[in-house]
Amino acid sequence: MASSPPIEVHDLTVAYRQKPVLWNVDFSLPEGELIGLVGPNGAGKSTLLKAIMGFLPLLSGYVRVYGKPFEQQRQFIGYVPQRESVDWDFPVSVLDVVNMGRFGHLPLIGGLKRTDKERARAALDQVGLADLAGRQISQLSGGQQQRVFLARALAQDATIYLMDEPFAGVDARTERAIVDLLKQLKADGKTVLAVHHDLHTVQEYFDWVMLLNLRLVRLGPTTEIFTEENLRVTYGGKLAILAEAAESLTRRTEV
């Protein structure tokens, strides 16, 4: 296991309704690094995370987690979906949501054990929300909601974390809390791949960076890869042809 990369993606092509949104993506993630996933809107950043976890049909390619197919390795992955992806008015408490992080460790039938509940409490404490365990989730601020999602991922006890815009729409205090948490994860030897939007903070928060725009532009240590030239390639207009090709392909093949 030690020799295999945490995540290896080989020649991955993904399409939504025949419209390709990722082309021939190919990479291996380094173990124990904080990796920022950066690219313009519609570049396929969330799609890449979802494709890694097998939510989407692949037109080509495969994903390996520590050298084996994802389906056999789920227990190593912790996932933080976008905050807007759920209804925060749903009738559950903060602790209920964090407990969900333990579901992957439970048998098909049966409830949480005492150790699971302790783990969930500890995760909640780690993000500084222990006092709010009994609150209904709609009564939290946006930043607190984001931290609930992070606590749930921590409760999963994974070694690889996939995070979809953990910094989106959070207050300064939550941002600092998340940064500290990322550092802690790195100190514990975990690998983190996080979609990130704020180009100003990439160098500060991430050791590695993955530049993505429908295809993999660059992957490497932030100091080497995060250059103006590479950003221009990632965000520039050079991909107009690829986008147009995808569009015309859709028109012709969609029912």
Partner: protein, 444 residues
């Protein structure tokens, strides 16, 4: 009156076998639909339940045509099959065309329902011996239930309850956060499929008693009412189940008192009444509750204005020893009729004001309160001008609203953030707790 009492006694003694049957049937149905409906409601798929119910009608007719006789179970199976096809059609339309969910639901509902009416009309005119009563599936007729029907409803309800209990954790996760559920390896399509199947079953057992047109109300309304009362999923399911079965019981009772009116519509009327009451009265979410909160806040605003104005008068004069006549206080702020009297009364009662005839002055507690409101007002003005860069003539109105709602925690944060400013943007001093001691000296 005597007749009403007699009927009520006869109904609730459950000595009448026909009454027992109807009550058991409608209560079981209300419980099953209410409990399951919670998930439909939370998935925001309320109209899907309605479309499934309407899509069940052709199945009833087709099953009758195939069998040539009216038996509960085969008809229910037929209903379930076409309801299912309706559900698949909705999925297919939204998945493979550009049509949105509302259009797909509208199409499926009307096409299947129309087809069902067509088949039923054909059966009615076709001279089939056993066909009377099939039309009840449109609006429902609880009295038409046989002991076998009620047994079947009971078995299916039990099945639904057991499935929900065993799979509770999974259903909760799949409905709340399907993305995360998928990352854990839960086959979400299968769980959603299971949920839809359960809904189809609940709908079809209700067809005979309530009918395809009204069954959706039994699915959604108890859940919507229950949501008003609780913030947790398990109690919500319990409440929705209770509301559903209570509606079944009361609907059957009202229909027993006035047999001209069928049970199904009465059940729906009762469940809607429960919803209306919940909408008005439930704590926190209820309309009455929110109105009370609103009025409470308005009264607090009046009280705060009196305190603040008297505090500032005292500041200008250097002491708070003078009494002010009611008339002078009335001019401080545009009070609504009666508002001043009740605000003064409350302030005297909570120890902020002392009264002498029709004259009032601040107590030391009142001085502290007035000082705090002034402080919050000026702190907020500092915050706005510093962080939002608003010009000084834009600050007052906003601070006027905020001074009544800032909590002590927020106040502490604000003071720290602004690093204990001494003056507001209009160069007025910001009073901190120091006035308390002086106030006490002067009051004594």
């Amino acid at each position: 009156m005597v007749e009403w009492w007699d009927l009520t006694y006869r109904f609730f003694s459950f000595s009448d076998a026909a009454v027992r049957l109807v009550v058991a049937g409608t209560m079981l149905l209300g419980a099953a639909a209410g409990g399951l409906g919670t998930f439909v409601y939370l998935q925001k798929r309320s109209l899907v339940g309605d479309a499934l119910a309407h899509a069940a009608l052709p199945g009833v007719g087709l099953a009758f045509l195939i069998l040539g006789e009216k038996q509960f179970l085969p008809l229910v199976v037929g209903a379930a099959v076409t309801a299912w096809l309706g559900g698949l059609a909705v999925d297919a339309v939204t998945r493979y065309t550009r049509l949105k969910l509302d259009a797909a639901l509208g199409m499926v509902l009307s096409v299947f329902f129309g087809f069902g009416i067509l088949i039923l009309t054909h059966i009615q005119k076709g001279g089939y011996a056993d066909q009377s009563g099939l039309a009840h599936f449109i609006f429902g007729k609880a009295a038409a239930m046989s002991p076998g029907d009620v047994t079947a409803i009971g078995v299916i309800t039990l099945l639904l309850a057991v499935t929900l209990m065993v799979g509770f954790r999974h259903f909760k996760l799949v409905v709340f956060d399907p993305g995360f559920a998928a990352s854990l390896g839960l086959p979400i399509r299968i769980w959603q499929f299971a949920l839809t199947t359960l809904v189809v079953m609940a709908v079809t057992i209700g067809l005979q008693a309530v009918g395809v047109v009204l069954i959706a109300a039994l699915l959604i309304t108890p859940a919507a009412a229950a949501r008003q009362w609780t913030d947790r999923l398990a109690p919500m399911i319990g409440l929705a189940t209770a509301f559903g079965s209570l509606s079944g019981l009361l609907g059957a009772y009202i229909s027993f008192l006035a047999p001209a009116l069928p049970t199904g519509p009465w059940v729906v009327v009762v469940v809607s009444s429960i919803f209306a009451v919940s909408l008005l009265l439930a704590p926190n979410r209820g309309i009455v509750w929110r109105l009370l909160e609103f009025w409470g806040h308005r009264r607090k605003v009046s009280r705060d204005h009196i305190l603040k104005a008297l505090y500032r008068h005292g500041m200008d004069r250097g002491n708070w020893t003078d009494y002010y006549p009611r008339r002078a206080i009335a001019e401080l702020w545009s009070f609504r009729p009666g508002e001043l009297r009740s605000a003064l009364g409350q302030l005297v009662a909570n120890g902020s004001l002392e009264r002498s005839g029709d004259m009032f002055r601040l107590t030391s507690a009142g001085i502290a309160s007035g000082e705090r409101i002034t402080r919050l007002h000026r702190l907020w003005e500092v915050y706005l001008s510093r962080y939002l860069d608003l010009p000084s003539d834009h600050l007052h109105r906003d601070a006027e609203a905020m001074e009544h709602v800032i909590s002590p925690e927020l106040e502490a944060q604000l003071t720290d953030l602004l690093e204990h400013p001494t003056h507001d943007p209009h160069a007025q001093p910001i009073p901190y707790e120091r006035a308390k001691g002086e106030a006490k000296d002067q009051a004594s």
